[in-house]
């Protein structure tokens, strides 16, 4: 497996673990309040720190197990990144448009924030999935 693909796997797993924890926190706090918890910096800072720490651990593990982990992507892998970035952009736009449409119908600012945030996460997940898929199909 190419290091570029391994990196995409590591980042995908990190993002899914951290995002799952974020979702769990939001559901937990919302159940305690009885309504959707307003976005707060505490939960989001925890999320960002979790991503940074987990991705550092993942990359250290990758570097320790692979001789050429530090090499830059080659021309073929850069094409995968470009296509992944394109798909990621489409997912982000669709998510944001859906979130804005929902806001126009319901005027729920908190849900708008979470929807746009979810679109950001989904776009990043889509990028990693596309890179992995392009590697898998050759």
């Amino acid at each position: 497996m190419a290091n570029h693909e391994k990196t995409a796997w590591v980042m995908l797993v990190v993002l899914l673990i951290a995002s799952g924890q974020l979702l769990k926190n939001i559901i937990h706090h919302s159940q305690a309040l009885g309504v959707l918890v307003p976005p707060n910096s505490g939960i989001l800072i925890q999320y960002v720190i979790a991503i940074v720490v987990l991705s550092i651990i993942g990359h250290i593990a990758l570097a320790a197990t692979s001789k050429r982990a530090s090499t830059a992507p080659d021309e073929r892998e850069r094409q995968f990144d470009v296509y992944g970035g394109h798909v990621s952009g489409v997912v982000l736009v669709l998510g944001c448009v859906a979130a804005l449409g929902h806001y126009l119908a319901h005027f729920d600012g908190h849900l708008l924030f979470y929807s746009v945030f979810a679109a950001l996460i989904a776009s990043q997940v889509a990028e990693y999935l596309v890179v992995i898929w392009r590697h898998r199909r050759g």
Binding site: A2, H4, D74, E75, R76, E77, H135, R137, G138
Partner: protein
């Protein structure tokens, strides 16, 4: 199965004749082993620069390595 690209090549034959592995050739021309494998299997057409590097590695010209078959 992925569609074969219209640029054929004899990279595999030249590499095996030179006694090189895909990883060694990749290191020589600045791409990964997986990219060399993709070139050999006509799943990826290399950039002009990489194509020239491959030809130079085998001490031959571009036309002897790559051919366009529309």
């Amino acid at each position: 199965m992925a569609k074969l690209l219209p640029i054929t090549n004899c990279v595999k034959e030249l590499r095996e004749a030179a006694g090189m592995t895909q990883a060694e050739l990749g290191e020589h021309v600045g791409v990964t082993r997986q990219t060399i494998a993709a070139i050999e299997q006509r799943r990826y057409s290399p950039s002009l620069e990489t194509a020239f590097r491959i030809a130079v590695t085998f001490n031959t010209n571009l036309e002897a390595v790559f051919e366009y078959q529309p």
